[in-house]
Structure formats: C-alpha cells, structure tokens
C-alpha cells in the first residue's frame, strides 16, 4: 500500500517539479522515488497477508512480486527516458507523472481484491496509456495509435463493465472472496448470468493483454506509439494485465475451470499463430516486436489452462523474462531510431562490428525471447510448457513448439543482420545510462536462465 501511496505522491511531486522548471531533477527524483517504492513494496513481503481496506486490496506475495517486477521494469524504462521526452515536448514532467500514474494503476491491478479496484486500476492505467500513446502530437502515427487505442479500449471497457455487472448480479458482491464462495456454495446451480459475466470479463481482459482475437489494436498501437511508451506498454502493462487476469481467475473462477479452459486454449493457440506467423513477414523491428508480444501472450495464457499452485510463478517468471528481454530490445530500438532514423531489419546490419556490446546484449535478448536455454526466456517457456502438459494439452504444446520455431526464425533475423551481414555504418553511440540498462537486463536474463530458482520459488 505504501508503494502505491509513494508512487502517487511521487507523480504529484514530479508535476510540481515541472511547474518549477526543475527539469534536471526530474529523472533523479523519479528514480529515487521508484526505488523507495520498490523498497516499500518488498518490505511488505508477507506470507500471511490479509485483505485490507474492507477487502479492497490484498498485498500478498503475489502482489508484492508483481509490484516489484513492474516497478523494476519501469525503473529501467525511465533510465532510457533521458532526453527522450525532451525531444517530443516541453512538458516533460507531465509525461513522467502520467507514467507514474499508470504505474499506480498497475500496482492497484496486481493487488486488487475487489472488482472495483480491478476496474479502477485498469482504467487508471488505460487512460494514462491513451495519453502516452498520443504524446507525439504532430506525429500522425502517434495520433492514430492514440485514437485507435482509445476507441477500442473504451469499447472493450464496456464489455468488461458489463461482465462486472453480471457477476455482481449473480453474486451480489464485488469481493473476490464472496464471488468464490458463491461458486463453492452453489456448485450445481451457478447462474447463467455468472457464466456470461465470466465470458465478458475474459473479453475485456483479453483485450487489455492483447490476446487474439482481441489483439487487433496491439500491432498498430505499438507501432504508432513512441518507442519508450511502447516499451512500457509491452512490458509493464502486459505484465500487470496478466497478473490481474490470473489473479481474478485463480481466486474467483478456478472452481468452474472446465468451462473456461477451452476458451483459453483457443485463445492461446490463436495468439501464438497470429503473433508468430504474422511477425515473420514484418520488415520493421518495432512492429515485429508488437506481433511477437502477441505470441508471448499466447504462451502466458498457458498458465491459465491448468491452474494450480505453480501457475502464478510460471506467469511471474515468464513476465519477468519477457520484460527484461523486451527492455533490451526497445533500448536498442531507441538507439537505432535516434541515430539511424529507421528500425527496418536492414538498419541492424553489421552492428556487431561497430558496437559489439549492443549486438551482444540484443542477441541475449533475442535468444531469450526465442526461448533458447541459458536465458530467462527459456525458463519461462519451459514452465509454460509444463503447465500445458500438466493439463494434458499435448496438441497445444506441440502447436506451441511449432510456433516457437517460427519465432526463432524472426528473432534470429535480427541476430543474422547484426552478425552476418556487412554494412557501412557510422559508429553507434550508446550513452552510459543505456549501457547500464542493457547490461543489467542482459545479466539478469542470463542469471535467471542459469539459476532460475532465484525467482521461480518466490511466490
């Protein structure tokens, strides 16, 4: 809770800093604040947490772990933001604040214990993201991304709310515990309204995480938004979305899983297919990452199809692995966009010669995303496959394997371009902060890949 308060206050403080033109202080203050929030969040580590504020929030290990990973990711992204917003607009402080607001919403999302909080958390995050997607005001792509995201997001919110309403209608409460006990007490005559509510919730949440067939917004919005925002969306936001998704279904709906598991199987398969296959043909790194993020949603959905005590840590590991790797990818993307002005695969040609460090870290990221052993991404995939097989979804797993192969193909395009293709290019300059982010993320990826028990047994 104190993390949430810290972040909210931090956002306001940042706004004030902006007001007083203390631009130089923005980044340090934000970083320090986030570190403080991180410390406060972690200090709440408690195995026997109880819901607080009339059952609105529950800061259990799950919530703390996901808060921590989202805060850390945000930290890393902020480290990349130096000079980034300055180029877009004068109102840097506001952007910082909006990101922090979004993060506050995310903290709410991962620790909700009441549908009200879920709803408010999601909306804080979404509204902030609508804004962030459109911060390049003169840029058509950014405009388009903002509008698309906004209209479709608002539309999907309608479904989410309808679902909430139906759940309320069936159970008479917004409290997760109450909803769960409703199912357990009426195992035979669960109201059809309740099932319809679940379906509508699935629609709403699937949209937020970008699972097929509700993924259509994702590639366009990811492409159109500024790279840093896309990084935030595809890492922190996705992680939070999944955390909320999983929490809701684990706590509330697990007794009726036979009803919704086939849906997730279908969604997982569709997401894998659409994400991976479409990514193959992409010519631009950013859009490729957008599609690939859809495919990762597919993998993460595996955790939903056989729920047990390991599902949460599976998603956690996967999300963590995916986040760090994506941050590297986006960091490189930002460097490229700034210095080459282009993010097509051709612009990666021969990076290994001019900047081996950049190439090396990006290679680790790509290997991790592709799920190659000794990287965190592999551990994530392994745990997801494990989940699927624990539910005897063998065909789905084999299908996922085939898709993973397709994934390797397009991730390796980057590696191929960097290492095996020659190119006349200028030296790429990587600022120390970027270097720091790249190094930390790469090291984290490898360490988690080599000794996964560091985080797999957290939750």
């Amino acid at each position: 809770m104190s993390a949430l308060i810290t972040i909210s206050l931090l956002a306001i403080l940042v706004l004030y800093l902006g007001l007083f033109k203390a631009k130089q202080a923005l980044l340090p203050v934000t970083l320090i604040g986030l570190l403080a929030a991180l410390g406060l969040a972690v200090s709440q580590w408690d195995t026997f947490a109880e819901p607080i504020y009339s059952g609105m929030m529950l800061f259990d290990k799950y919530a703390v772990a996901f808060s921590a990973i989202t805060i850390i990711s945000t930290l890393l992204i902020f480290l990349l933001s130096k000079d980034y917003f300055e180029r877009i607009s004068e109102n840097v402080a506001e952007y910082y604040a909006v990101i922090l607001f979004a993060l506050a919403g995310i903290i709410v999302m991962v620790s909700f214990h009441n549908l009200t909080m879920l709803f408010i958390g999601i909306e804080i995050m979404s509204v902030s993201l609508y804004i962030l997607a459109g911060i390049k005001k003169k840029d058509f792509a950014s405009n388009e991304a903002a509008l698309k995201y906004f209209l479709m997001g608002a539309f999907s919110t309608g479904f989410l709310l309808f679902g909430v309403a139906l759940l309320y209608g069936a159970t008479g409460s917004f409290d997760l515990e109450a909803i769960r006990s409703y199912i357990i007490q009426n195992p035979q005559q669960v109201s059809p309204i309740f099932y319809a509510g679940i379906l509508l919730m699935i629609i709403g949440l699937s949209f937020k995480v970008g699972a097929a067939p509700f993924h259509f917004w994702a590639p366009d919005v990811y492409e159109g938004s500024p790279a840093l925002v896309t990084a935030f969306m595809s890492t922190v936001v996705k992680t939070a979305g999944f955390a909320a998704f999983l929490r809701l279904f684990m706590v509330c709906f697990s007794p009726v899983q036979s009803f919704w598991i086939p849906i997730f199987v279908t969604f997982a398969a569709l997401s894998l297919l659409v994400g991976n296959v479409t990514a193959v043909y992409q010519q631009h790194f950013k859009r490729m990452l957008a599609y690939s993020s859809i495919s990762h949603v597919g993998y993460m959905l595996f955790a939903m199809i056989s729920l047990n005590s390991e599902s949460d840590s599976s998603v956690f590991v996967y999300a963590a692995a995916y986040s760090v790797a994506s941050i590297i990818a986006f960091a490189v993307l930002i460097v490229l966009q700034r210095q080459v002005g282009n993010d097509s695969f051709d612009s990666f040609n021969g990076i290994s010669k001019k900047n081996p460090f950049l190439a090396f870290t990006l290679t680790i990221a790509m290997l991790s995303l592709a799920g190659i052993p000794l990287t965190a991404g592999f551990i994530g995939k392994l745990m997801m496959f494990s989940r699927a097989l624990a539910g005897y979804h063998i065909y789905l797993t084999v299908f996922a394997v085939l898709n993973a192969l397709v994934g390797i193909f397009y991730y390796f395009r980057v590696i191929i371009a960097m290492y095996f293709r020659p190119a006349e290019r200028n030296e790429l300059v990587v600022s120390p902060l970027f270097k720091f982010v790249l190094a930390v993320s790469a090291i984290a990826t490898v360490i988690l890949g080599i000794y996964p028990d560091l985080i797999t047994r957290l939750i």
Binding site: T116, F119, I120, E123, V127, Y130, I131, G134, K137, K138, F140, A141, N143, E144, A145, A146, L147, K148, F150, L151, A154, F155, T157, G158, L161, F162, V164, A165, L166, Y168, G169, G172, S173, F174, I193, P219, D220, V221, E223, G224
Partner: protein, 109 residues
Amino acid sequence: MESVIQSIQGVPLNHYILFSAIIFTIGVIGVLIRRNAIVIFMSVELMLNAVNLLLTAFSAYRGDASGQVFVFFIMALAAAEVAVGLAIIVMIYRNTNSTDINVLNRLKW
C-alpha cells in the same frame, strides 16, 4: 413516491437485463457503423450507461448499495475518458482536419 415504487414492483429482473443488453447492443452497433470518432465515442457512452442501469437494477434487486456505488465509479471513469478522448480527437482534428476514423489507417500490416 409510493406509486412510483409500486410501479416498479413487478417488473421482472430479466426484463432489466434484456433492456440493458439491448441498449448495450445499440451502442455496439453504433460503434460498428459510424465513422465519426465522436459519434463512436458517444455510442460507447451508451454502452456504459446500459451497464449503469443494469448495476442499479441489480442493486435494487438485491437491496445492496454497492452496485450503485459502483455506478459512481463508472461515471468517474466516463468523465475521465471523455476528457482524454475528446482531447485526443481534438488533437487529431488539428492534424487532419477530420474526425473520420477511416482517414487514420496508416498503421497496418
């Protein structure tokens, strides 16, 4: 007031649900068939109001106030969304002189 209360007594809950669903669907259709971003947005508002009504009906049915409280939050959200959404639309209009969503399809494939 009593007569009013009397009059509501007896309307089956499912008629409220049906009614909300219809309004909701009309909102969805509106989103589907219109090109003007503002009108689309208004259709979304229609959907939200359908939900509001449903929540209130449930709330009344169960004699539980929390449903109505939730409506407040939805209204707060609606307000926030309207502010942001209209700002976005205005921003786009400045760039394209249009609020037609079909104009905005550069990002594709």
